[in-house]
């Protein structure tokens, strides 16, 4: 039995608790929140025996195997370290830490203690991402990826989260070094980090505030980012936008022999094979082949639904990640996310924020409409 604790009893904690309850041999033994009412409500709704307001009390009183840290990011490092020092494995929600040095320190600490760490990059484990990874591992690309494209976008309009952010000048997201970006883009960046092989990729980022946010008096939030990443053998584009409709969450991976398109919004995986057709046949046969692939995706998704194995992709992904992490704690499987991937994601994000903040600092304070235009990417 994996004995689980949760620190931070807000919305993310609910999502974790729902998925943990679905995992055999796992039990939430304690929850903790500095706000006693929040700790109590989570414990009450999920029938958890103990609720605490101080992490040290929880770590002392409850014998836990793993602690999920679902607090706002500024506390991830200190709480993570406290849990590791108390002998608990940790699942840290995204963004893993505020910066690279904190991430390295946490992982170093875990290694020293013989404990395990994972980050909340659950978007890596949606059903369609798992299918994509399986194909890549089987050699579908025909070699190392040549190029990657990750689009992880966002919509201010509907999301309650964005409303609470924009409605609250003191929201913790505003205080993050990367503000809104830091709380969201790790999902899209980690997809790229997984397939980079070099340790020190070059990152070239350009960020700006959308006309929409400018128009509602939010010039301090960057919500448009374009990034070019390059390492020894692979290049990548990362796009974050709050303006593109429909809001895309897509990943494309291009290899020397074949390429793949992952549409996370609709859980569709499309294979772009390197088959050649003579003359006009290239215009007639591939549409049928693509249609067959789309029907295949429908069958896969609906089949999983009928087998009650198609929970909303983010929920399904969260369960897969948590379950895989618990198996790795038991020693039955490797870590679901390599430390290299977690660290590289953090490093790329650090580089993006540094460059964007530099651009902001150097920008002329006057509101110049031309500054919204994309400039040449700079290293």
């Amino acid at each position: 039995m994996i004995r689980v604790g949760i620190i931070g009893c807000g919305k993310m904690a609910d999502q974790h608790a729902l998925q943990i309850q679905r995992i055999p041999n796992a039990e939430i033994r304690a929850v903790c929140d500095s706000e006693p009412l929040m700790a109590r409500q989570l414990a009450e709704r999920f029938h958890v025996a103990s609720a605490f307001t101080r992490p040290q009390d929880m770590l002392k009183a409850a014998a836990l195997d793993v602690v999920h840290i679902t607090t706002p990011p500024p506390s991830h490092f200190s709480l993570g370290k406290a849990c590791l020092e108390a002998g608990c494995n940790i699942y840290v929600e995204k963004p893993f830490t505020l910066n690279m040095s904190e991430a390295e320190e946490l992982i170093r600490c875990a290694d020293q203690k013989g404990l395990k760490v994972t980050a909340g990059h659950n978007a890596q484990f949606t059903p369609v991402m798992m299918r994509m990874r399986e194909l890549v591992n089987r050699g579908y690309l025909g070699g190392r990826p040549i190029h990657l494209e990750s689009q992880y976008c966002y919509e201010f309009g509907d999301a309650g989260y964005a409303k609470s952010l924009l409605g609250d000048r003191g929201h913790w997201v505003r205080a993050l070094p990367g503000s809104l970006l830091q709380n969201i883009i790790s999902h899209g960046v980690s997809k790229i980090a997984e397939f980079l092989t070099g340790e020190h990729p070059t990152v070239m980022a350009q960020g700006f505030t959308s006309p929409f946010l400018e128009s509602i008096g939010e010039p301090d939030i960057i919500d448009e980012v374009r990034v070019l990443i390059r390492d020894d053998a692979t290049t990548a584009y990362f796009t974050f936008s709050s303006q593109i409709r429909p809001v895309p969450h897509q990943f494309r991976i291009y290899g020397p022999r074949g390429s793949l398109i992952v549409d996370d919004d609709h859980q569709i995986l499309i294979e772009l094979d390197n088959r050649a057709y003579k003359s006009y046949l290239r215009y007639f046969i591939p549409p049928f082949r693509f249609a067959r692939q789309y029907v295949g995706n429908f069958k896969t998704n609906f089949g999983k639904f009928l087998r009650k194995d198609f929970h909303l992709p983010n929920d399904a992904a969260l369960k897969t990640l948590i379950e895989s992490f618990y198996r790795s704690i038991d020693g039955a499987a490797p870590l679901p996310l390599s430390y290299r991937e977690i660290l590289l994601t953090t490093k790329i994000m650090d580089d993006i924020f540094t460059q964007i903040n530099d651009q902001r600092t150097n920008a002329h304070p006057a509101r110049d409409p031309n500054r919204f235009k994309m400039q040449c990417l700079r290293s």
């Binding site: 904690a13 706000e35 309650g160 609470s164 609250d168």
Partner: protein, 371 residues
């Protein structure tokens, strides 16, 4: 500037409690705090307080809410002081600032998020912060807590039975999958705790479905378009409606009427239409659309099946349709507003027929503008 009488009270404030002889709990010059003052009901509560001659109305609104409506309102009453305080009820210091010196607090701010923790935080934690601030001020005479009709259970009331203030609060709101109602029930609990432990003088108001110009939605109690076609679920049920101005009036009276501390008031208007009547009028006045009438036993069976599937599939479909919720919203009860009428001296000022016509006119105009 408005004229004051010798006692220093505006004549309207003297009559605040509704009868010539009754005293108002608060004087016209005492400070009244309204949280959620920029909201649908809150704005009307502020207006009614000003119309009654209260001179110091403090309006707490979110930092980024455009205060224009309240500023316009303040402009209409130049003799009164309308303080627009921007703040967040999750901040204890904002609560202290807002509650400082208040004789009466109308707590209308609510969490209307989709998640349980979101609703809980924005209903319960915020209320606790406000209550801490309220009990620390020596001036408080009453805390009016705005709850919701949704907190009741009708499990023990037969179809057609009366739902009133004496009915049970639903202890299984998590099973009903209703974060808003859960947050409101817990909010009520914390108010009762503070009354017990700190002697908080309180009144709880539970409005039914608030409707009127400014809100175009057809209540779920009438039907739902979730499946792409309008399913008419209410059929012959009386729909517990309260016109927004009538509701605001009841809330105002719940703060002003002396001698009602510790009471709970349900607010529904008179002459409630059946769901069928409402829909027929809607189609006639606003636009015609296709709807499928679904008898309660069939809908109840569907909700029960959905709930069972949700459980079997470990939430592959969330239990948004479930038997408890179905019973509360569509079983069909009668509703009493007798207590509010008797103890508050409240009468729905806008008759139901007129309220409905105003609502339909608003929806029609809005839909025309959207085209």
């Amino acid at each position: 500037m408005r004229t004051m009488n010798n006692a220093g009270e505006h004549p309207a404030a003297q009559a605040a409690a509704g009868t010539g002889q009754d005293q108002s709990l608060v004087r016209a010059d005492e400070t009244i705090l309204v949280t959620g003052a920029n909201g649908y009901v809150g704005t009307r509560v502020v207006r009614m307080l000003l119309e009654r001659g209260f001179q110091n109305v403090r309006c707490l609104t979110r930092a980024t809410n455009p205060p224009s409506r309240l500023e316009e309102l303040a402009g209409e009453f130049p003799g009164a002081r309308v303080d627009i305080v921007k703040g967040n009820l999750l901040s204890c210091s904002d609560c202290m600032r807002a509650a400082d010196g208040a004789a009466l607090i109308y707590h209308l701010a609510a969490g209307v998020e989709k998640s349980f923790p979101g609703c809980f935080q924005n209903s319960v934690v915020t209320t606790r912060n406000l209550l801490d601030a309220a009990i620390s001020t020596t001036t408080l005479k009453r805390f009016v807590n705005i709850s919701s009709f949704a907190v009741y259970s009708n499990e023990r009331i037969p179809r057609g039975g009366v739902l009133d203030e004496s009915c049970d609060i639903d202890a299984k709101l998590v099973e009903r999958h209703e974060p808003y109602a859960y947050g409101k029930a817990k909010q009520d609990e914390i108010v009762l705790d503070y009354a017990k432990v700190h002697g908080l003088p309180y009144v709880i108001v539970r409005p039914s479905v608030v409707f009127g110009p400014g809100k175009a939605k057809i209540s779920d109690r009438i039907g739902t378009s979730t499946f792409g076609v309008f399913l008419h679920l209410g059929l012959g049920n009386r729909i517990p409606l309260t016109y927004v101005d009538n509701c605001a009036e009841a809330i105002v009276l719940a703060g002003l009427k002396p001698g009602i501390d510790g009471e709970v008031f349900n607010i529904t208007d008179d002459d409630l239409p059946t769901s069928r009547e409402f829909l027929r009028l809607y189609k006639r006045r606003v636009r015609s659309f296709f709807s499928i009438p679904i008898p309660y036993p069939i809908w109840y069976s569907f909700c029960s099946l959905w709930e069972r599937y949700s459980k079997w599939s470990e939430g592959q479909l969330p239990p948004v349709f479930n038997s408890r919720g179905c019973s509360v919203y569509w079983k069909g009860n009668r509703y009493s507003n007798q207590k509010a009428k008797t103890m508050l001296g409240w009468q729905p000022g806008t008759p139901m027929r007129e309220a409905l016509e105003r609502f339909f006119a608003y929806v029609k105009e809005r839909e025309a503008n959207e085209l």
